[in-house]
Amino acid sequence: MSGSHNLSRRDFTKAVMTFVGAVMGAVVGIPVAGYLVSPAVKAQKTDAWVTIGPLDDYTAGQPALFSFTRAKVNGWEKTVNSYGVYVVRAEGDAVKVLSNACTHLGCRVTWQQDQNAYTCPCHDARFGRDGEVLSGPPPRALDGYETRVENGTLSIRLLE
């Protein structure tokens, strides 16, 4: 390193090599990073109406479980996910559909007629008929679905 302003041949080579190396590193590194995190940045959104069946199949005041499955393409694989919802019919056409996934950690809740509550087997959470928390660790009431009744047929909007 001479004191003059002239760049020595060695320093010039060093600078060029550093620059070229950085460019090559970026050309390989950026695609590799994008490739690895690719599934994380692609949100798979579902927005569909799922038919539950004739509303008259459900008795008012008596939560009933309805199960269905939906196929989802994940990468190179088709996965079939199971869903469970509780149909809670009030008088007339008024109906509420609740997810059976506990809002605490996602275990499946079950309606217990004798306790008049949904109970979760994992951490003893209890929810009332309309999904409100009665006791236990859940942070909020059971999640409800948007519902639609057309010609007496009940559908729910699956958004996730």
Partner: protein, 220 residues
């Protein structure tokens, strides 16, 4: 100043300067561009290792998923086409550089005393590189891959006497199947790479220890 201190502390214990000098400041004769092919091959191998590891993130070596997983890499993953493209063309290019590297060594007579072992490890490196090409070709599990491997393993099966045994050993049975795909995958990502890394280690050790030969003159 602190950087210098840390470096000196490490250097005193690890001998980094000595390693650097041995590798990068060793004496070499005046050579030409043909002498860069070994380094080019090493660079391509490193590129194949990186892109290969990346591909294994999404690739599945099973007959019913291999093709789909590659379709997914090509169209469903960001830069998947690029990573696979580099791996594909890098493989072809590596066979070419290895071959020209061998021709350079051969025509310059650089395989002679005291570099015989360097040459022999080089021969095995060439074979291992071709092995990588052969085993990697099956992995996409498309028609071309399937029939190329059918033909390739059949050729190996024409060896007199033990041909049938070799054929079954390569295919993992009488016919090409998921067993063939799994063992080709294992050979492609574990056996051949390990072999190549060990051989490159010996090869480079010898290149550094003995030094490289000069371009032969009129009287050599």
């Amino acid at each position: 100043m602190t950087n210098k201190k840390v470096f000196n502390w490490l250097d005193e214990r690890l001998g980094l300067t000595a390693i650097y000098k041995t590798i990068f400041e060793r004496k070499i004769p005046k050579v030409n561009w043909w002498f860069t092919l070994g380094s080019a091959t090493l660079f391509l191998f490193a590129l194949q290792v990186v892109t290969g590891i990346m591909l294994s993130v999404y690739y599945v070596p099973s007959p019913d998923k291999a093709y789909d997983s590659i379709e997914f890499i090509m169209s469903g993953v960001a830069f998947g086409w690029l990573i696979r493209g580099i791996h594909h063309w890098g493989a072809t290019l590596m066979v070419i550089t290895v071959f020209i590297h061998m021709l350079r060594v051969f025509f310059y007579g650089a395989y002679k005393y005291p570099r015989e072992i360097t040459w022999v490890t080089g021969v095995f490196l060439l074979l291992a590189t071709l092995g990588m090409g052969f085993t990697g070709y099956l992995l996409p599990w498309n028609q071309k891959a399937y029939w190329a491997t059918t033909v390739g393993t059949s050729i190996a099966g024409t060896v007199p006497g033990i041909g049938d045994f070799i054929l079954r050993a390569l295919r993992g049975g009488d016919d090409l199947s998921g067993v063939t795909l799994a063992r080709f995958f294992a050979a492609h990502i574990w056996i051949f790479p390990l072999l190549i890394i060990i051989l490159i280690g010996v090869h480079l050790y010898l290149v550094i220890r003995i030094g490289i030969s000069a371009v032969p003159g009129k009287n050599d």
